[in-house]
Subunit: 293 residues, 4 copies
């Protein structure tokens, strides 16, 4: 199929690469052209502007940083008008429920398909094509892109016909990650204060009751008290907890853990830790108890 | 070895049974004698009072409900005076750091060994001898009971020579469980408000990023919104979060998630949900958002 | 002086009335014209649209509901272009710091003065000209409107030359009011649970340590558990706590009380209490403890 | 009347002095005898031990530091057995509801009257006899001591016939004080971050909407960022918030503000600020936002 791909960050590059490996004709675009080079070497066509990647595409994928980028690149730069009627846009970005609603209407108005397909996984997982993909949208649109989603993910989780559903599952999932980090931060601060290192405590937990990727990966960084390099930046975690809180506010859902997380993340940012990995949030709990790092 | 075992609740019965299966000479005691019968049939001697189970024992195990029970049965009923000098007491109960400190001194004074060996796992896991056992105490004492701990657990996690260490690891672990439940409660309330059932959301989470026993077991109950029968009662979860908060207060460790958990658990108890499973805490988040069950 | 006045809600009507009583030539505008009638009878000219009230005015006052209304009426309807160069706009509304910054620039660009002059007080206080007015802006602009502010308020609190200053003082003040309400709500729920009515407890507090207007007025409604008629709606309190949280986020200021307030207000709104007085927030604390009203 | 007075701290000394000035025959006792000297010079008899101050007394007042001191001095040192049948004990200390219940029973058993009469006010207020006294107990017992309470306080607030009532009113009042301090701490951190000093902001608030002793006294210290000398120590504030939380737990009353206060106070103590005035709690909010003092 003829595929357009917008957004070649550390996630998008791997995802687009797997579509190329899958034998598809892929035209890529990225704000800074350099990011496109490695994909060009793999056979991708490089577009000068977003709309060029959309022109004539059967399917347009986008993996953009946040609401602002999606608004600018998808809604304000003529991309949707460049897409052939009947084409499907697959949005992999983590965005707000409010923007998702806007996108649904913008696509419907133009007779375009819209599939929300946010992904769980880090850059190396994206490169390996082993992401967890959560997808929802009109059945025919989802059916059309299903083979492409399978090139990107080890598993595709169908979430029904409303794109809002996959959008909120991704937001809820990122909140769960943040809550797990704060939970480990508080628990290890408690055990450290009583003489048990974060490493000793988390070794037990993440290999027994909590033996799962999130507790192993983030717990490993907390155990080592090493928060660089950042696989997922704390400042992005702050943005995602904000998406959860906005979605909660819209439906009048009190989320006290999200509020505590928000306040702890604000303290991290005030301390200048925004560029650390999300797990660097653990520094706040230790600092509040005045434990030495 | 000659073993005494005090406390035959739904956990203790399985644990004592595995010591008998291991070929040891086990004398059991329980407040209500009926609980002892099945073990008597497996070959256990039944003691009339705690001290009788301690007399002549090489090792005394106890699996009692809480601080009050441990204080009454171990400290106030002559058990420690009945134990032969050099005997080792293995305490499997989840108790406060303050009481653990008292127990350490009471044993030392009498030339008795004290090993803190709290366990993670539910009754059926205890019966199968597959618990996760966290153990700490003087090396010689731990070495002496190691073969017994291996009969009880699929794995024994050594935590060093201070019984406080295993005690706080257990307290920290139970806090992590409570925090995971509240996290899932808030996340599923958010997704439900946006049209995604708790079951659909948790199916993705507990089979990908959070594929671990805690998220599967408690998440399963939250997904089904079915909180009986209780494998671990909400009222006991409230007690354990209290142990975490007391240990945190003693060392001046702020734990905002523990505070939120405490307030949510108070609301559960006010609503009359104390007899539900710990995961029943999830009802509070839904009620606050005024979602229909 | 020739004065324009935009926004004749239950606050603005009283404020404009006092400017007329002061002998000024006042032209008023309100979205629904009916609200202008009583002022017309007092001698005000009624404008058909906002810009008409601005044309030829020495000073333009506005008392609008929220950011959206200020944006629409002041920024998007030609009002600033209708004001004579050198005229001063006095904004009495409680708005966000971000919008205040926009307004400062929009006025500067046009050679207009901008004075932030939010007010504390309820409608009857506004009618009596006894508001507390907090004012900041360029010295010459403030000096020009000082006599007018004194017609509106019993006291004008000078806050310096940056309009942001009065803006944040008002936001901080409204947060203090919300925090006082939640504090009384929790304290009275505690005393009620132990047999002391809210009325008995607040009678002591609001006549001794806390003898101040806020504790007397809001405490009186909490004591009576009567939250209508609403002098200041709970839904507006929610909006104002949002302004505080946005201003806090912008400067990385963690405000855990504001987060608790936000979650309690969300629960009030979920319960359908948005039209109650702000003090109706107290119903949440009682409901969480399952106390009968 | 023959009066015994136990506990001559900076509050008790002033209170006992006013009973002497009232023409009563007062026998005083204090753990460290030195504190009794100034009162001896005013005409008090000095007792060697608590029971001696109780022997033959018509009324026994006690103003002790906390639950532990009350338990030791009143319950464990024979004081109640030394009091003549029919005598009344007036307890001015701030104690837990649980201990108050114990005291009620201990007095009833011995045919003694028990009046809970906690006081609001600082040492200088106590010396001037201008405290606010909250009193509850059996009508005859209260009637008997009413003239004495009027020597101590500018106003006596009758709370009915159950001593628990005055006890919980005091606990609730101290919670309100702590909540007001945290509220001012967060509000001033917000305004400081936007360029308005704590002094400028609190000058407006504590002289308008919040014109009351608590906001003026504690607000004054926050405005000056000067937290010594301590009129009421932060460590005592931590103790009193603990009393509120224990009373709330006993009745299943969630108090999220009390939980936030507890966590902030723990951070103050971890930072070594326990000896500062209660208002020193404000340092935590500023530190979390990384504002320079």
């Amino acid at each position: 199929m003829r595929i357009g791909f917008l957004g070649l960050g550390n996630m998008g590059t791997g995802m687009a690469g797997n579509l190329i490996k899958g034998g598809h004709d892929v035209t890529v675009w990225n704000r800074s052209a350099d990011a496109a080079r490695p994909l060009a070497e793999q056979g991708a066509t490089v577009a000068a502007k977003p709309a060029d990647a959309a022109t004539g595409a059967d399917v347009l994928h986008s993996m953009l940083a946040n609401d602002a980028a999606v608004r600018e690149v998808i809604l304000d730069s003529g991309v949707l008008d460049a897409l052939p009627k009947g084409a499907v846009h697959v949005n992999h970005a983590t965005i707000s429920v409010a923007l998702a609603q806007e996108l649904i209407e913008a696509h419907e108005k133009r007779g375009l398909g819209y599939v929300a397909a946010p992904v769980f996984g880090r850059p190396e997982v994206a490169a390996a094509g082993n992401l967890n993909v959560v997808a929802s949208g009109k059945p025919d649109a989802v059916a059309k892109v299903q083979p492409l989603l399978e090139l990107i993910g080890q598993k595709v989780w169908p979430m029904g016909d409303d794109p809002i559903r996959a959008t909120i599952v991704k937001i809820g999932g990122n909140f769960l990650i943040g809550a797990a980090i704060e939970s480990m931060a508080e628990a290890t601060t408690l055990t450290r204060a009583h003489g048990v290192s974060a490493a000793d405590f988390l070794d037990v937990m993440s290999n027994s009751l909590f033996a799962s990727p999130i507790y192993k990966i983030y717990g490993g960084m907390i155990a080592a008290q090493t928060y660089t390099p950042a696989a997922f930046k704390l400042s992005l975690g702050f943005k995602d907890i904000g998406l959860a809180r906005a979605a909660a506010d819209a439906k009048r859902v009190p989320m006290p853990f999200a509020s505590v997380l928000h306040d702890a993340l604000l303290e991290s940012l005030a301390a200048g830790d925004g560029e650390l990995d999300f797990s660097g949030l653990a520094r706040v709990a230790g600092a509040r108890a005045r434990l030495k790092d």
